[in-house]
Amino acid sequence: MNALKSIPVLVEAPATRDFCYQNTLPLLHEISHALRRLQQEQLPTTIDLNAIPFGPGDEQRLLEFLGRGEVSAHLEALGNSSVWESGYPGIWFIEHRNESGERVAFQMEITTLPAILATHPDDIAESLSSLQKALENPSLGHRIGD
């Protein structure tokens, strides 16, 4: 374990954005088109990043390029999921992992708010009825799903 650390690694900041594998650059163009669509026609776009033929390091470079913005959310349903807005507002990343922590989906949504974060109308209805029940008899208070 120590041996690995003993490799002298000098981290150099890339002088230019290196998109040599060329799959990130077209993707960024696609994203910008999607963003325009969102702005002008209010049409959201979802891109399945698993379907993009990334070369080694491409995903890393894309994530670094887009950076992280103000919002991030954590979801616990059938394993963990993370949702975060990139440094470019309107561009979101959604990463789903299964119970063993393995990534099962990785998507980019160009939208105002990713659908998975919004509360489902049926849940609101259930929520309302159970809250009312709880108010009628506070000792029965419970959370949905238990």
Binding site: A77, L78, I94, H96, V104, A105
Partner: protein, 363 residues
């Protein structure tokens, strides 16, 4: 046996899966089936109604690599597949029961799900002699025909089941054939690869589970969603091919910098599979990323396609030897032709020289 009582939607809800969880599940399913994210609502609607199909997995002339590959699947994982998605009622490598009890399980599943179960086959079927491969005293052909009779469809997993694979490689000592050579009255979906990418195996199962139908297939009976594009066209090293930058040997500068492996025999241009996007073992790497050219393992007869380290455009014969023979022969024949020419010419010249004014006047 009261089997298919619960839909997947009910089962998930019973396990306390929330709507967000369900949406996530659908998203992952879409991604796994290589379907666009816009399909998620349709998948959600279909999954609500989906029931665990009975799956009978038959192994013939195989190496178990396909099953091993399935066990590497992470979305859904093999354990989720077994517990939640399908009822894997017969599978030599995984099932607990042996011998008669195992065969009884197969027969029970066939009975209870008559006309509705899926048969998965890995391995080719030897027709050279029924004794070349037997299970419980039955030849593979007998087992296949009997099991497929009541099936809704057959999924041929791996290149052996899909196209005959290694056993069928020249000179095909056991007379091995593919599933589709035998099963002609049922839909056969080919999921080739040696082994196939686990996501492709589960993706096809998921498609059937979700929609109750089979995915769209190409001319080789392969699901287009996974086999629609060549390795080469989706390869991250493709730009280097286009720019003319190649690794000339393993471990040279080009190899280290990740240049194109075409000259080292990469069969990416002729191979249709999802390795370049799905990659292997949870996106860890794939053959080209790890420095070895694609060997073309999802294509029919790739074993006989002319060597793994010869560039695709290079002819398979002994070119330089043939060419030198041809040159020698050409020179030989050419010299003779030239000799004949020379003689003709000399003769002509001679004859010409002999023409005198007198000769002409005689005419």
């Amino acid at each position: 046996m009261d089997t298919n009582t619960k839909t997947l939607g009910e089962a998930l809800r019973r396990n306390g899966v929330t709507r967000r969880g369900f949406l996530k599940f659908c998203t992952a399913t879409a991604s796994m089936m290589a379907l666009p994210p816009s399909m998620v609502p349709a998948i959600a609607a279909a999954l609500e109604q989906a029931r665990r199909p009975s799956v009978i997995w038959l192994s013939f002339q195989e190496c178990t690599g396909c099953t091993e590959s399935l066990s590497r699947s992470h979305a859904p994982s093999l354990e989720n597949l077994i517990f939640d998605h399908i009822s894997l009622d017969y599978h030599h490598t995984l099932q607990v029961a042996s011998g008669e009890a195992a065969e009884a399980a197969r027969e029970a599943a066939m009975h209870a799900n008559e006309g509705a179960y899926l048969v998965v086959v890995d391995g080719s079927i030897p027709l050279g002699n029924p004794g070349y491969s037997t299970i419980a005293g039955f030849s593979n052909l007998q087992t296949l025909e009997e099991t497929v009779a009541g099936a809704v469809a057959v999924i041929a997993v791996g290149t052996c089941a899909s196209f005959g694979g290694l056993p069928k490689a020249y000179p095909n000592p056991t007379g091995a054939v593919s599933v589709s050579d035998i099963v002609t009255d049922k839909p056969v979906i080919n999921v080739p690869g040696c082994p196939p990418i686990p996501m492709v195996i589960t993706g096809v199962l998921a498609h059937y589970l979700t929609f109750g139908t089979l995915p769209e297939l190409d001319h080789y009976g392969r699901p287009k969603a996974f086999y629609g594009t060549s390795i080469h066209d989706r390869c991250y090293r493709r730009p280097f091919y286009d720019k003319g930058r190649f690794a000339h040997t393993f471990d040279d500068e080009g190899a280290r910098k990740g240049w194109c492996l075409y000259k080292l025999g990469c069969k990416g241009p002729m191979t249709y599979n999802a390795c370049a996007t799905a990659k292997w073992n949870q996106g860890t790497s794939w053959p080209v990323e790890s420095g070895h050219g694609c060997i073309g393992c999802a294509e029919p007869d790739f074993w006989d396609a002319g060597g793994f380290y010869n560039a695709l455009s290079v002819p398979t014969g002994e070119i330089s030897r043939n060419a030198s023979y041809a040159i020698a022969a050409g020179v030989g024949v050419g010299a003779i032709a030239a000799g004949i020419n020379q003689r003709t010419r000399n003769k002509a010249v001679r004859q010409h020289a002999e023409v005198t004014i007198e000769d002409l006047e005689k005419r």
